[in-house]
C-alpha cells in the first residue's frame, strides 16, 4: 500500500481507491494532532527487558507463521526500536506494550470490527480472555498469516496490549486495539506475550522494527473516520454586485448552494450597508459528506460612499473566531466544536483590464491577515488572452507593492515541495474565471458555458478560462490546507491577540470564570 502523506489528492474519488490519503480529521484541540507523539515516540519508562512476560502465549491452533514470526523475536531485544513497557508491571498479564516511534490514534471511535471486511478464513475466538470487544485477543487465525486475504490492506500495526481483557485503562490504545484486532489481516496479538507484532512479512524497509507493523494503515482508518463524520468548509464571497459570485460558487460545487440575487428580477433595493448572509448545504460525494457554508456579502462596494464597507465583513470573521474561542475555553467542551470560521474568502476583482480598483486594494489590505484571501478575476470573458495576462501581471505587482499576501502565503510554506507547488500556483494567480450554470452542446458533448453570438465560452476548457485550475486548487488539493491555515495561523493570531489584550480572557460566562487566567 503506497501512501503518500504529503499532498492532498482527489478527495472526491470513489472510496474504492486505496492508497489515497484521507482528509485529516478536524479536531477541536488547539494543536490538532491525532498522534500523541513526542519526538522519540512514547514517554515510557523504558523498561528494556521483560524476560518472563515476554514469553509468547502460544495458542494451540496458531498458524506456524506466527510462531516463526514470534520466534524471530529473540529475548535479547536491541534497545532501539523495541517496545517498552509503559508501566511497572504489577501483574504480568496486565502490561501494555508500546513501540517507540509508533503512532497512536484514538481508536475509540473507529468503526467497529463488524464493518471491516471479514477475513477470508473465519477467525477463531480467543481462548483466553473475555470475549468482549475490548479483548485483546480477538479472533486470530489466518489473518495473521499475511493479511493477503483482504483487499490489499496491510495488517494493522497497532500493538496489542498484553492484558487479557478489557483492562485497557489509561491506554487508549488498549481497547482500541481490541477493535483493531478484529481487523483483517491485522494482527498481532496472537498472544498474550503480545508483541502485538503483526504478520510475518517483513516490511522491514528502513524501519528499525523487525517486520511490518502496519503503521501506515492509520491513513485508511482516518479516511474511514472522516467519511463517517464528514467535515465542514466555510467559504465567503466578496465583490461588487453582478460579478457572478453566486454563479461561480454554484459552478464550483456543482449544486445550487448560493442563492443568486434573483439576478434580473430583483425588486429589493441595493442594501445600504454590507449584509452578511450565510447559507449551509450538505454535499455528499464518494461517501464523504461536506457541510458547505457559503457566506455572501451583498452590498459590498455598491454605494456611492464605500468608506469602511469592509467593516461588517471583518466583524463577522472575528465573531466566528470569538465563537470558536469561547467554545474552546469552556470547561466542558463539546467533542467536536462546530466550526463556523471562514476558511476561505474568494475576492472577485472587476476585470477592468487595467489595474485593481482602490476599493479592492483597501479591502485586501485589511483582511489578508485575518482570513485566507483568494483573489479571482470575475467575468473574465471580457478580456482577450493578452489583456488577461497583462492584467494579471499588473494585479500581482500591485498586490506585491502593497504588501498583500494572498493564499497560499509564502510565509507558511512548510517545505521545499510545498514551496515549489505553491510557487507555481502563485504565478498563475489570480485565476481568471467564467462561471455558468447552463449547458450547451459542443462537439457532441454538453458542457457548461456561455453562448454568445460569436462562440461558446466553455467554463471547463483551460484554453478559455482558468476555472478548472481554480477548482482543482481550491477543492482538490488545498481544501484541507485552507482549513489548517485558518486554524493554526489566523485563529491563533486572533486568540493570541485576545489573550494578550486583557491579560487573559474576560470571564466569558459565570461558569467559566475559572478559565479566565488562561
Amino acid at each position: 500500500m503506497n501512501l503518500c502523506m504529503s499532498n492532498q489528492t482527489d478527495i472526491f474519488a470513489p472510496s474504492g481507491l486505496h492508497g489515497k490519503p484521507a482528509e485529516l480529521l478536524e479536531y477541536p484541540s488547539e494543536k490538532y494532532c491525532p498522534f500523541n507523539t513526542n519526538s522519540v515516540g512514547i514517554r515510557s519508562k523504558g523498561v528494556f527487558d521483560l524476560p518472563l512476560q515476554r514469553t509468547a502465549y502460544q495458542r494451540p491452533d496458531q498458524a506456524t507463521t506466527t510462531t516463526t514470526a514470534f520466534s524471530s523475536h529473540t529475548p535479547d531485544y536491541p534497545p532501539a526500536g523495541r517496545a517498552f513497557i509503559m508501566e511497572e508491571p504489577e501483574d504480568p498479564y496486565y502490561v501494555t506494550m508500546y513501540y517507540p516511534g509508533s503512532v497512536y490514534v484514538d481508536m475509540s471511535d473507529v468503526v467497529p470490527p463488524e464493518v471491516r471486511p471479514k477475513p477470508a478464513v473465519p477467525a477463531k475466538p480467543p481462548n483466553v480472555g473475555a470475549p468482549s470487544p475490548s479483548s485483546p485477543f480477538p479472533p486470530q487465525g489466518p489473518g495473521i498469516g499475511g493479511g493477503g486475504g483482504v483487499s490489499g490492506l496491510p495488517p494493522s500495526a497497532i500493538p496489542v496490549p498484553i492484558v487479557n481483557h478489557g483492562h485497557s485503562v489509561g491506554h487508549n490504545i488498549g481497547h482500541g486495539v481490541g477493535h483493531v484486532a478484529g481487523h483483517v489481516g491485522g494482527h498481532t496479538a496472537a498472544h498474550n506475550g503480545g508483541h502485538g507484532h503483526g504478520g510475518s512479512h517483513s516490511s522491514g524497509g528502513g524501519s528499525t522494527l523487525l517486520g511490518y507493523i502496519g503503521i501506515d494503515t492509520i491513513i485508511e482508518q482516518m479516511r474511514k473516520k472522516t467519511m463517517k463524520t464528514g467535515f465542514d468548509f466555510n467559504i465567503m464571497v466578496v465583490g461588487h454586485s453582478g460579478l457572478g459570485k453566486s454563479t461561480l460558487v454554484n459552478t464550483l460545487f456543482k449544486s445550487q448552494v448560493s442563492r443568486r440575487s434573483a439576478g434580473w428580477a430583483r425588486d429589493e433595493k441595493i442594501p445600504k450597508t454590507v449584509e452578511i448572509k450565510a447559507v449551509s448545504h450538505v454535499l455528499e460525494e464518494g461517501g464523504v459528506k461536506m457541510k458547505l457554508t457559503v457566506v455572501d456579502t451583498p452590498g459590498f462596494g455598491d454605494q456611492i460612499n464605500n468608506d469602511n464597507c469592509w467593516e461588517p465583513i471583518s466583524k463577522y470573521i472575528n465573531e466566528q473566531y470569538e465563537k470558536f474561542l469561547k467554545e474552546e475555553v469552556n470547561i466542558t467542551r463539546k467533542k467536536r466544536i462546530p466550526d463556523t470560521r471562514v476558511h476561505c474568502c474568494l475576492f472577485f476583482i472587476t476585470p477592468t483590464g487595467r489595474s485593481l480598483r482602490p476599493l479592492d486594494l483597501e479591502f485586501m489590505k485589511r483582511l489578508s491577515h485575518s482570513v485566507n484571501i483568494i483573489p479571482v478575476i470575475a467575468k473574465s470573458d471580457s478580456m482577450t488572452i493578452e489583456e488577461r495576462q497583462e492584467f494579471k501581471q499588473r494585479v500581482r505587482k500591485e498586490l506585491e507593492m502593497a504588501g498583500i499576501e494572498f493564499y497560499p502565503q509564502k510565509e507558511f510554506d512548510e517545505d521545499m515541495e510545498d514551496k515549489s507547488d505553491n510557487d507555481k500556483i502563485r504565478e498563475a494567480m489570480p485565476f481568471a474565471v467564467v462561471g455558468s450554470d447552463k449547458e450547451y452542446p459542443v462537439n457532441n458533448k454538453r458542457v457548461l458555458g456561455r453562448k454568445t453570438a460569436w462562440g461558446i465560452v466553455e467554463v471547463e476548457n483551460p484554453n478559455h478560462c482558468e476555472f478548472a485550475q481554480l477548482r482543482d486548487f481550491l477543492i482538490r488539493s488545498h481544501l484541507q490546507d485552507l482549513k489548517e491555515v485558518t486554524h493554526n495561523i489566523h485563529y491563533e493570531t486572533y486568540r493570541a491577540k485576545r489573550l494578550n489584550a486583557n491579560g487573559g480572557l474576560h470571564p466569558i460566562s459565570s461558569n467559566d470564570t475559572q478559565e479566565s487566567n488562561l
Binding site: D302, S355, R357, P358, A378, I385, T452, W454
Partner: protein, 372 residues
C-alpha cells in the same frame, strides 16, 4: 423638381424661353446649398464628453468611433495612486477632415470618476466644468466683440455603464440626475462582449425602466417627420428601442470570415465591432455622427444653454431685487460688522451687478425698439 437642376448655378440663367414655372421660381431653394458651402469653409466643431469609471473602454471607443488615436501619451495610474484621486477634466482636441469637411473634435475626458473609495459628489467637477463653459459662452455672447466666439460647450456626454452590474448603480443615478439638465446624456453599456444576447436585452430593459423610474432625462432622438418613408421610420423606431446601446470598441484588426475587420480575438470566437449582430457600435456611430450630430448641437444651444442662461439671469435679477429692497427707507442693520476686505468685495460685486443691470436694460430697450 425642376429647380433641382437649377440650384447648381447661382444666378438663374435668363433665357427667353422661361416657362411660366420658371417665372415663379425665386431661387431661395439654393439657401441650404449656400449654407452648406459656407459651413464647409468654416468647419464644424463638436465637443464630446466621456464619463464613466476607469477601465470601461472609453478611450478605445472614442478612438474606434473617430478612427483616431487620441491617447498616445496617456499615463495610467495604478490602484494605490488612485485611492485619493480627484476627478480631473482633460481635453483632447483633434482636427479631422473627411471629403472636404473639417471637424474640430474636442473630447473631454474625466479620469478619476467613480474610482475612489468614497465617491461622494464625484460628479461635481464635471458639472462645474460644464457650467463654466456655459458661463464663458454667456459672457462672450453678451460681450462687445462677438465675431469669433469659441464654442466650448459640451454638446454630448457619453456615459458608460458597467455591464457587470444588475442595472444602474447609485453612482450612475446620481451622476445622470446631476447632469441631465445641463448636457445631452447618452447612456451606453460598456464592454458588451462579456454579455450574452439575452443578458444584454434584460440589462437594457432594466436600465430603461430605472431611467424612467428616477426621472432621468436622457437625450431623446427627435421624432422623424411624418413624411419620411416607412423604412426610415422603422429604422428610427428600432434605434430608439435599442437604447442604451451596448458597445464594444476596438482598433485592432483581426481576420474574420476571410475579411480583415476591427475586432477582438478570443479563443472562443471573434467579436466584430462593426457587425450589427454582435454589438450596437454601428448604431451608435450612425446616430452620433451621421444623423444626429447637428441635432445634438441644436439641443445644447436651444435647450440646455437657454436653461442655464435663464437661470443665471433669474439669479442676477433676484439679487438685484434684493439689493433694491436693501435700500428701502427702513435701514436694516448689518448683522455683523464686515471688515475692510469683505466690504471691498461687496463694492466690487455691486458694481458688477450694476453693469449687468445696465446691459440688461439696454437689451430690453433694443427689444422695445424692435417691437415698435
Amino acid at each position: 423638381m425642376s429647380s433641382n437642376i437649377r440650384y447648381k448655378s447661382r444666378i438663374p440663367v435668363k433665357t427667353g424661353e422661361e416657362t411660366a414655372e420658371e417665372k415663379q421660381y425665386v431661387g431661395f431653394a439654393t439657401l441650404p446649398n449656400q449654407v452648406h458651402r459656407k459651413s464647409v469653409k468654416k468647419g464644424f466643431d463638436f465637443t464630446l464628453m466621456v464619463a464613466g469609471e476607469s477601465g470601461m473602454g472609453k478611450s478605445t471607443l472614442v478612438n474606434s468611433l473617430f478612427l483616431t488615436d487620441l491617447y498616445k501619451e496617456r499615463k495610467l495610474l495604478n490602484a494605490e495612486e488612485r485611492i485619493n484621486q480627484t476627478v480631473e477634466i482633460i481635453k483632447h482636441t483633434v482636427d479631422i477632415e473627411e471629403k472636404g469637411v473639417k471637424l474640430k473634435l474636442t473630447i473631454v475626458d474625466t479620469p478619476g470618476f467613480g474610482d475612489a473609495v468614497n465617491n461622494n459628489e464625484c460628479w461635481k467637477p464635471i458639472t462645474d466644468y460644464i457650467d463654466q463653459q456655459f458661463e464663458q459662452y454667456f459672457r462672450d455672447e453678451s460681450g462687445l466683440n462677438r465675431k469669433n466666439i469659441q464654442d466650448n460647450r459640451v454638446h454630448c456626454c457619453l456615459y458608460f455603464i458597467p455591464p457587470f452590474g444588475h442595472g444602474l448603480r447609485p453612482v450612475d443615478v446620481e451622476f445622470m440626475k446631476a447632469l441631465h439638465e445641463k448636457v445631452n446624456i447618452i447612456p451606453l453599456i460598456a464592454k458588451a462582449d462579456c454579455l450574452t444576447p439575452n443578458e444584454i436585452k434584460k440589462l437594457k430593459d432594466r436600465i430603461r425602466e430605472e431611467i424612467d423610474k428616477f426621472g432621468i432625462k436622457v437625450y431623446q432622438f427627435p421624432e422623424c417627420d411624418s413624411d419620411e418613408d416607412e423604412e426610415f421610420k422603422q429604422l428610427d423606431k428600432e434605434l430608439k428601442e435599442c437604447t442604451p446601446f451596448a458597445v464594444i470598441g476596438s482598433n485592432t484588426v483581426v481576420e474574420a470570415r476571410g475579411q480583415r475587420v476591427r475586432g477582438r480575438l478570443y479563443p472562443w470566437g471573434i467579436v466584430e465591432v462593426e457587425n450589427q449582430s454582435h454589438c450596437d457600435f454601428v448604431k451608435l456611430r450612425n446616430m452620433l455622427i451621421r444623423s444626429h450630430m447637428h441635432d445634438l448641437k441644436d439641443v445644447t444651444c436651444d435647450v440646455h444653454y437657454e436653461n442655464y442662461r435663464a437661470q443665471c439671469i433669474q439669479e442676477m435679477t433676484s439679487k438685484l431685487a434684493q439689493d433694491n429692497r436693501m435700500e428701502s427707507p427702513i435701514p436694516i442693520l448689518p448683522l455683523s460688522t464686515p471688515d475692510v476686505e469683505t466690504e471691498k468685495l461687496i463694492k466690487l460685486k455691486d458694481e458688477e451687478l450694476k453693469r449687468m443691470q445696465e446691459m440688461l436694460n439696454k437689451m430690453q430697450q433694443q427689444m422695445h425698439d424692435k417691437e415698435q
